[in-house]
Every structure is written in C-alpha cells, then in structure tokens.
C-alpha cells in the first residue's frame, strides 16, 4: 500500500465527503454556529451514508464495501477515517462533530460489548426520537474535576443485586442533552483503581439519568455539549461493558478506553487539518485575482510567503495523520505517530486560522465571517481528545519511560 497516494477507495471517500462538505455543510454552517443548534435535518439526510452507529455497522454504508474478514490483512478503516475527517472538518467542524459524535459512544460498544449489548445499543439508536430527529449517542467520560486526567473518575457504580447504582456528574459531553443512549464510565471497584473503571450502556429516560445544562462554547457550536448527571441511576449488570473477549483480547476497563481514544487521534488531527485547509483556501481565493494598491496580491511576498507557510504546515500535518493511520491499518504500533498527528494538526489549525484573520484585516470582523468561525472552531482541537500537553507527555514518556512534570 502506497502511503503517499490515495487508493481508489480513499479517493472516492475524499471526493464524496468533499462534495458533501461544500454542498451540504458550508451553506448551513454560519446559521448553526450563530444559533448554537444541532443540524438535525442534515443529520437525517446524511444518515444513509454517515451512520451514527458507524462503528457497529462497519464501513459498508460509507463505501459500499464490506471489511475484509481476514484480520491479518491491512485494513483501511483508519485511513478512511483520516481522509473523511479532513473533508468533514473542511466543511464545518461543528457539524462534523454532530454527524460523528455518536461514534465516540458506539466505539467502546463495538470493541468491548457482547453481541447482546451491541444489539441493545443498535436497538436504542434505531428509528427517530419523539421529535422526529435521528437518534444520537453520548460518551460520558469526562468529569468536572477530571479533564486530562481521566484516571481520577469520581463517578461510582455500586453493585446492588442484578444492578449497578451509578452516581456522579459528567462534563463536556458531546450530545449530552439529546442522546438516546449514553455510555457512561464509572468506578465499579475503587480498590482496583484504574482497572475498576467500567462502561455502562444507559438508555435515555432511565430514572436518575438527568441531562444537564447545554454549554455555550467558543466554537464547534453546531455540536451539542452538555453536563450529564447520574443521580442513583440503576443500570442492569448486563449493560456493563467489558464482559466480552474481542479478537484483540479481553477488553474491559479504562486502559481499553484510553486505547480507543488513541485510535481516534489521527482522525481528530485530520479534522483540524480540514479547518486549516478551509481558511487557507479562503485566503488563497481572495489573493487570486485580488489587487493591493494597484498591484496583484499574488506579487507580494508578505502575503504569498504566508500562504506558502500555511501550505507547508497543512501538508506536514496531513502526512503525520496519514502515517499514523497507515500504521494502524497495518497493525503496527502508532501511539507516537497518533499523538504527533493530533498535536500538529491542532497547532496548524490555530496557526493558519489566526494568520488568515490577520491578513484579512477588518473583513474578518464581519459577523458570520467563515474564517473567524474557523478560528474559534480550531481551538478545541488542542484541548479535547487529549490536550496538546497530553500529547507531548505521551511522546516524552515514550522517549525515556518517565512522565516529566
């Protein structure tokens, strides 16, 4: 497999989602950003190919092809994810997260769930909700006191007969207000420390599950973020994840959740690349044919070297993401590469959007200006899914085996 060129499958994904980004996402991006509203209509329209349960469905919906059943052969899932994520980030990061946010919850069910749990999750996600909207899922992991340090979870799950009683609050939960199903992480065995953390599938409407306040955010405003409270919420023990043994071995607690987060990092970095590319192309479009005091904008090094710098950084970030994905698809360790891809992509998105705003001058102060929105959207990529500092901590630990403080 050639790392540096798309195969026909990846080219097809790129073309399809790139077209979707421009035709379906861009025209509604400013409105959903301004109104801080989920793009429910688009989510329904896109559901035939961008399923909220894609992690459980495999890739067929998106590509029309089944996964190769031979586990030793190279996969394409990670590369499809990075190629697709860049295009969706290029369209609108907030809408992209609304379209894909359920995947965060579906992934641990796909990886750690039993057949029965997968079936239950899919049942809970089938059909439309009582407002006629596609159903979404929420991964409830972060807590008010637990952002980067997810090993310090305070939410507890107390055994009680055939049930667990879950108690605690979750913070920054994508789809936290509207989800039809939650995958909540709680400490089920405090004596076991990290190994005692378990995930539970909890249906909306379960007594004690209380969706909290929706957050007003700097960016990605088309994606809903809310607190979720579990007030002695009783969940049947059959809904506890970690009872299955996957092809990759037993998958149970927090360490597997962290591995799952590792696996999404290249795609997250790639989504940031999409934001950077959007701002870069917007600026390039202004420069082509534009003039400055009677001279072509393109004749000015001040402007063109900035664009060249942006192009370099975008290309470097994209290569890092593709390299990390290629390694994952070829069953090779990619922890370092995934962290590099995520951290570098976030940095590039911030750099490019900030510089693009400076070069646009007063134009970028206009309400609903896309570059200003991309500037606000870009910041979260250096925070969620492991901050830039966490990525560097991972890389540093790989160098010496120590956690620098």
């Amino acid at each position: 497999m050639d790392l540096f060129h798309d195969n026909p499958l990846l080219a097809g994904v790129r073309q399809m989602l790139g077209s979707f980004a421009l035709r379906s996402m861009r025209p509604i991006a400013a409105r959903h950003d301004r109104e801080e509203s989920m793009p429910w209509a688009l989510m329904k329209e896109a559901s035939p190919f961008l399923s909220q349960t894609a992690a459980l469905d495999g890739r067929k919906k998106l590509t029309g092809l089944e996964d190769d059943p031979d586990p030793k052969k190279p996969r394409t899932a990670a590369r499809i994810a990075v190629v697709g994520s860049e295009e969706l980030g290029y369209g609108c990061a907030g809408i992209a997260l609304a379209l894909a946010g359920s995947g965060l919850a579906a992934s641990p069910v796909a990886r750690m769930g039993t057949d029965e749990q997968r079936a239950e999750f899919k049942k809970l996600m089938s059909g439309l909700d009582d407002q006629g909207r596609v159903k979404v899922a929420a991964m409830a992991l972060s807590e008010p006191a637990t952002g980067s340090d997810i090993s310090g979870l305070k939410t507890i799950a107390i055994p009680d007969g055939d049930h667990y009683v879950i108690r605690g609050s979750k913070q920054w939960i994508t789809n936290g207000l509207s989800a039809a199903v939650y995958v909540v992480w709680a400490q089920a065995d405090p004596a076991a420390g990290r190994a005692g953390v378990r995930g539970f599938i909890v249906a909306r409407g379960t007594p004690g599950l209380v969706p909290g306040r929706k957050e007003t955010k700097l960016g990605i405003r088309a994606s809903e973020t809310a607190q979720v409270h579990f007030e002695d919420c009783r969940v049947h023990k059959d809904m506890m994840l970690g009872q299955a043994t996957s092809a990759e071995g037993a998958a149970t607690g927090l360490s597997d959740t962290k591995k799952m987060l590792d696996s999404t990092r290249p795609a997250v970095g790639s989504q940031a690349v999409g934001i950077a590319r959007a701002a870069y192309e917007f600026l390039l479009d202004r420069v082509r044919g534009g003039s400055l005091h009677g001279t072509p904008m393109a004749s000015h090094q001040h402007i063109m070297f900035e664009l060249a710098e942006m192009q370099m950084e975008i290309t470097a970030s994209r290569m890092l993401a593709h390299r990390a994905a290629w390694l994952a698809d070829h069953h090779q360790d990619n922890v370092a590469e995934a962290s590099m891809a995520k951290a570098h992509g976030a940095r590039t998105a911030q750099l490019v959007t900030t510089r693009a705003m400076v070069l646009l001058g007063e134009e970028a102060l206009e309400p609903d200006h896309p570059v200003e929105k991309w500037y606000r959207d870009a910041k979260i990529y250096d925070i969620f899914e492991g901050t830039g500092q966490i990525q560097r901590r991972i890389l540093a630990r790989l160098l010496t085996g120590q956690n620098p403080t």
């Binding site: 952002g147 310090g152 700097l218």
Partner: protein
C-alpha cells in the same frame, strides 16, 4: 531615564485599575452575552472624566502617555467596554487639532451634551471620495466600526482625507461581531453623502498618519491589558486546578506558557508607553514606534489569549469562564485598520524603491 509614574499618572492608574477590577470585570460577561454595554457604563465613566478630556482649545496638551497607561488598565477590565470609553479621543483630538470652526462647533457641542463620536479608517478602500463644488461626495461601505451604532459623529479617514460626518447622514446597520460584542459596532452604507468643505478636517497625509498613530498606541496599550488579564485569570485557575495529583500551574510546560505570555505582555505595554511618550514629545520616530507597538501587541494578545484558553482546558472553551471571551476579543486589535505588518512592509518597500 526614569520609569516612575508622576503623582497624576499614578492617581489615574490607580483609579482606572480600581474601576476596571471592580466595575468592568463585573460587567464584562453580561455585556458580552447581551451584546450591549451596561446602562451604568456611560454615567460612571462620565463621572470619572473619560469623555471630556480633550481640550478644544489646547489639543496639543493631550497626554498620550497617560492615555496609554489608562488604556492598559481598561484592557485588563474589558476590551469591548474599553473601546467605548476610548472612542471620543481620536475624533475630538483630530477635530480640535486640524478642524475648522464649523466642525469643532458641531463635534464639541455634541460631546458636551453626552454625545459620542467614532473613528473609522477605511483600511480596505471600500469608500470613494469625490470632490464636487467644494464639498466631498462619499459613497461605499464603512466599517465594521466600534461605537458607530451609538455615535452622533464619525471621523472618517478615507481617500487621503479626514472628514467629520454626522451619523444621521448614514444608513447604519448595527452589528454584533464575535469580539468586543458590547462595543456597539455598526457598518454604514454611504450613498453620495455630502461632506461640506468645513467638515473636511484635513487632507494632509501627515495628519492622517499622526491620527493613526494615536489609534495604534491606544490599541496596543489595551491589547497589552487584555493579554495581562488573560494571564491573571490563567494563573489563578492553574493554581487551583489539580490534575495528575498536582496543581496544573506547577507543570513546567504551563509555567512556561504563562511566563512567556507575561513577558510578552510586559514588553507590549512598555512599547506602547514608549510610543505614547514619543508622541507627547513630538519625536520624529513616534509614528514608527506606534506602528511597531501595535505589531507586537497584536502578536502578544493573540498568543496570550489562545494560551489562556489552553491553560483552562475544557473550561476555557465554555462561556462560563472569562478566557474564551478574551480569545474572541483579541482579534479586533489586529484587524482594525488592517494588517499592520503589511502596511509596514509596503511603506518600507516604497521607501527603498524611491532611493
């Protein structure tokens, strides 16, 4: 050389700092969410003497250094409200310095009755200015301009001319940009607006350059204040927030983020003060120093506010905490009047080619 403030400067700094800490910081979040200033702002600021400081008869006595000291403190309080509090200075100073009697009468009569004035620089070249029978006819789009939505007059720099225009002659569209949301922004459409000859304040390039230098120093000082505020908030948060068993403010990477930002903010403040001092001293290099101060302050406020959000982590991204607003507010400091670096490069290139 002495960096000590004199008694009057010190009193002003202490007074404005108290106002910023006690009032502006308590108003800023609600004003941002509402997209409008608190009703008490104008009255409180009037009591503090914000709006009548420019002497019609003696504009040369105006102290830019004092203004920069004050602007820094206002920036620490709220960038959007600071823009409103500073809005009269450029129009009043320019009209008092170069304007004719009719323009002075119109503006200072308005200011004396609580009217506000805005300053708009057509940095994108969207306006056309055509002489006609001694007057000027102005058409095109103006803005976005802070304070324009509530101003009675706007001082417009366009087409090599400075002119005072009553806002009643304009078709205003109030807007709420992402940053400085409480600053009563507007754009304006001008369709052949007639500016009488006696409201043309100046067509001297040196006057316009001087006016822009005043604005640049003011922006730079306020930007340094915003950067300082960002790090004040971030440091307090980092001291309380514990992750991995220690306050995050004890991690070396965050110490460095904070430290570099504070270094930048101190440097930006000093550059702004230096440029202001040079303006007051009528130094030949004052205009260049003003431009350099804005370049540095723009970089510093961008970096500091982005890094403050980073230090806050997830909390930094939500509106309940102060720093996401600061990141939005940072942009106007670099955007107003256009890309400062570009202006510098083009000016230097013209100079080199002329040699």
């Amino acid at each position: 050389m002495d960096f000590t403030l004199d008694a009057e400067q010190d009193l002003i700094v202490q007074t404005v700092r108290k106002f910023a800490d006690r009032d502006l910081r308590s108003w800023t979040a609600d004003a941002d969410r509402a997209g409008t200033p608190p009703e008490r702002l104008i009255a409180t600021a009037t009591d503090l003497g914000f709006f009548d400081e420019v002497s019609r008869d003696d504009p040369a006595s105006y102290a830019h250094l004092t203004r920069a000291l004050r602007g820094f403190e206002l920036g620490r309080g709220c960038a959007g409200l600071a823009a409103l509090l500073e809005t009269n200075v450029e129009p009043a100073l320019a009209v008092a310095t170069w304007g004719q009697a009719a323009a002075k009468d119109a503006l200072f009569t308005s200011l004396s009755t609580g009217g506000l004035a805005a300053f708009a620089h057509d940095s994108r070249g969207l306006l056309t200015v055509v002489p006609a029978a001694g007057d000027l006819h102005v058409s095109g789009k103006l803005g976005p301009v802070p304070a324009l939505a509530i101003a009675r007059h706007v001082l417009v720099a366009a087409g090599g001319v400075l002119m005072l225009v009553p806002t009643s002659k304009l078709t205003l569209t109030p807007i709420t940009p992402s940053g400085w949301r409480a600053a009563c922004w507007a754009t304006a459409q001008l369709d052949g607006v007639v500016v009488p000859a006696d409201h043309v304040v100046s067509s001297d390039p040196a006057a316009i350059a001087t006016l822009l230098a005043w604005a640049r120093v003011s922006l730079a000082a306020r930007a340094a204040g915003v950067a300082t505020a960002a790090m004040e908030y971030a440091q307090a948060y980092a001291a309380e927030r514990v992750q991995f068993g220690q306050p995050i403010g004890t991690f070396e990477s965050l110490i460095r983020l904070h430290d570099d930002a504070v270094t930048g903010a101190i440097a930006a403040r000093l550059c702004a003060l230096h440029a202001a001092w040079a303006l007051d001293a009528r130094r030949a290099e004052a205009l260049d120093l003003a431009s350099r101060a804005r370049v540095l302050a723009g970089d510093v406020v961008a970096r500091a506010t982005i890094d403050a959000v980073q230090i806050y982590g997830g909390y930094g991204f939500v509106n309940d905490y102060p720093v996401e607003k600061l990141m939005r507010d940072a942009r106007a400091f670099e955007a107003l009047h256009g890309d400062e670096r570009l202006g510098r490069v083009l000016t230097e290139r013209r100079l080199q080619e002329a040699v």
